[in-house]
């Protein structure tokens, strides 16, 4: 299992378009990607649930990646967060 934390920089938080692009990205991997904020969590493929976490600028979220290709998947997802959120 791979896990990292990320502090959101986008003023709106995780909004529709980046959530949608993320959902598409993780489809390329076998690993499951879970976005965790406090006690709530959502699978990265369920973009509406991800949006509904209501994560805002300044919030710290945890991203958990589990599966056979978790190393490379975690790298891709982390890079995506850094560039887009």
């Amino acid at each position: 299992m791979q896990e990292f934390t990320y502090t959101l920089k986008d003023p709106v938080g995780i909004h529709a378009r980046p959530a949608g692009i993320l959902a598409r990205k993780v489809k390329d991997f076998e690993s499951t990607v879970t976005i965790i904020k406090g006690e709530q969590s959502a699978s990265a493929g369920a973009l509406m649930k991800v949006m509904a976490l209501g994560a805002k600028q300044g919030d710290e979220i945890t991203i958990r990646v589990e599966g056979p290709d978790e190393d490379v998947c975690a790298k891709v997802v982390e890079g995506f967060f850094r560039e887009n959120m």
């Binding site: 003023p11 709106v12 938080g13 909004h15 529709a16 378009r17 959530a19 949608g20 692009i21 959902a23 598409r24 699978s43 493929g45 369920a46 973009l47 509406m48 649930k49 949006m51 509904a52 209501g54 805002k56 600028q57």
Partner: protein, 538 residues
């Protein structure tokens, strides 16, 4: 003839047949599916078809309206890939044996409710997107074809969803009238960008008007169905005259606001939200003299964050730079209230805890706006204006808070820019103290609507008072003159941003007083420029 009334979004006159855009109502039957596998297939086929359609809309919007308008369709397309949403639809069909339509209604309504329950206004508004998607899915599943428009018409509807507004062939739209909608709804945004006559909140509008001949009078805020010959002739003549005037006024774009004997005045625009920018630019405004910041507060279910505010201000500042943008700080209270502010009802709200009084009472709230303004100041030529001032002390307190916010931002390493500070002169007290007040600010802007109401002790909304209302009351003109002279004695400028600024019968008077700036709604700019260019003050 039948006449329906509503609220004007865009003025002007449209003459044509009504096309009623019926809202899509679908009664999902809970009858069992004959063949669940077949239903899943139907669901997936529709999902792909709707996604294809959305992709086409994205490209169409990208070409016609630009990236920002188009993004929503890309987001919609992606939302239909949501694994949870798909899983709950398929499980509803396979496990519970329902029809695809029923599954769509259940799953999409649940997702919409999830968003609607969110506090953040951005996410709460996504609920409408999910409903829009649900309707598109149901339309496809039920094979309901959209009727094509072939001739120009006035569009009538309950309200319009974003996907509906893009699908319309704009070249055939003469005007828009809706039963619901608000000035910040998609309908209003579309109407402003197209500049076609539009009225909203036309309560008595119904599908019965479909196909009828009509005249939409945007200036008068009404819709005449099957107009009689007299009304038709009157409005047709008015439209022809207006079309001629409009063509003539367009030629004034890019010209100076200068009298034949060389006096100049700045003509700025009044706006209520960033959506008005297009009209501001199209009408060649010299700047923005009054940007009412209330739209940020009145539209949502929670107070806008510092970031949201700052982003909205920045958008306007960047679009106008290097021209000046004067943003008036929050003027809520009195008749403009919102639930989350939890304001106590007052017996006499016009004289109550409103505008600067409310802001100085709730300083943390006020500071969030001041910080947002200062952050935005780095991106253009900003003027910050305080409303409802009655004393020098209030101005000092506002300035002290601004200073405090500036220090905080500096300590946080956030960049700010330079800006001017001004006040609204809209109480007799402020006009009488103009000399003292002029020493504390960079400019005055006279708000004639409130100044009239407070000077004459006369409620302008009360129709019964009409016989007593003199918009050119000598006391008012005297106060305006006093204010302008005081400003000039102290080397600051003075403008007028109330309705009177656009009153062409007073333009000469104002110029003779030495008014430096007139701020009017965007569509009044060119007529005012025309007036100024034909004046001679010698």
């Amino acid at each position: 003839m039948e006449t329906l009334t509503g609220t004007t979004v865009v003025g002007g006159i449209a003459i044509g047949r009504i096309r009623y855009f019926a809202p899509f109502a679908y009664e999902a039957s809970d009858a069992p599916a004959a063949d669940p596998e077949e239903e899943v297939l139907r669901f997936e086929k529709s999902r792909y078809a709707v996604q294809d359609g959305l992709h086409d809309l994205y490209e169409k919007a990208l070409n016609e309206a630009g990236e920002e308008e188009a993004e929503i369709f890309q987001a919609h397309e992606m939302m239909l890939d949501d694994e949870d949403l798909i899983a709950s639809c398929i499980s509803c069909i396979k496990e519970d044996g329902h029809l695809a339509e029923y599954a769509v209604v259940q799953a999409f309504d649940e997702a919409a409710a999830m968003f609607a329950a969110m506090e953040d206004p951005y996410f709460a508004a996504r609920s409408a997107d999910v409903i829009d998607l649900k309707n598109r899915m149901l339309e496809h599943l039920s094979g309901r074809e959209q009727e094509e428009w072939t001739e120009p018409a006035i569009l009538a509807a309950e309200d319009l969803a974003p996907s509906e507004t893009v699908r319309l062939d704009k070249s055939l739209l003469l005007g828009i009238v809706t039963k619901g909608g608000s000035s910040s709804s998609h309908t209003a945004i579309l109407a402003r960008s197209l500049g076609i006559p539009t009225i909203i909140q036309c309560k008595d509008l119904s599908s019965e008007c479909d196909g009828k001949e009509a005249i939409l009078d945007g200036d008068g805020g009404c819709l005449h169905l099957e107009p009689d010959a007299e009304t038709a002739k009157k409005l047709r003549d008015k439209k022809e005259a207006a079309d001629r005037d409009l063509a003539r006024l367009q030629e004034l774009k890019g010209l100076d606001n200068i009298t034949t004997d060389g006096h100049t005045v700045r003509i700025y625009a009044n706006i209520g939200s960033p959506e008005d920018l297009e009209s501001v630019l199209a009408n060649d405004a010299g700047g923005i003299g009054l940007f009412r910041s209330e739209f940020l507060y009145l539209n949502g279910s929670a107070e806008p964050s510092e970031e949201e505010q700052s982003a909205a201000y920045r958008k306007v500042l960047e679009a106008m730079a290097p021209k000046q943008v004067i943003i008036r700080t929050c003027d809520i209270g009195a008749d403009k209230t919102v639930d989350y502010m939890d304001l106590t009802p007052e017996d006499n709200p016009a004289m109550g805890l409103r505008a600067i009084r409310l802001c100085l009472t709730r300083r943390d709230f006020f500071k969030r706006q001041l910080r947002a303004l200062l952050r935005a100041s780095a991106y253009g030529n900003l003027g910050i204006m305080f409303p409802m001032i009655i004393s020098v002390r209030e101005v000092r307190e506002c300035r002290a808070l601004l200073e405090e916010c500036g220090q905080e931002l500096k300590a946080e390493g956030i960049q700010t820019g330079t800006y001017e500070t001004g006040i609204m002169i809209e109480t007799p007290a402020a006009a009488l103290l103009a000399d003292e007040l002029a020493e504390t600010v960079d400019f005055f802007s006279i708000g004639t609507n409130d100044l009239t109401q407070y000077t004459c002790a006369l409620d302008r909304q009360n129709a019964a008072l009409a016989p007593f209302l003199d918009p050119h009351h000598p006391a008012l003109l005297k106060l305006i003159d006093m204010t302008v002279q005081a400003a000039h004695r102290h080397g600051i400028w003075a403008g007028i941003c109330g309705e009177l600024a656009a009153d062409l019968s007073l333009t000469e008077t104002f110029l003779r007083m030495g008014v430096d700036e007139l701020s009017v709604s965007p569509v009044r700019i060119l007529p005012l420029r025309d007036k100024v260019r034909n004046l001679n003050l010698t």
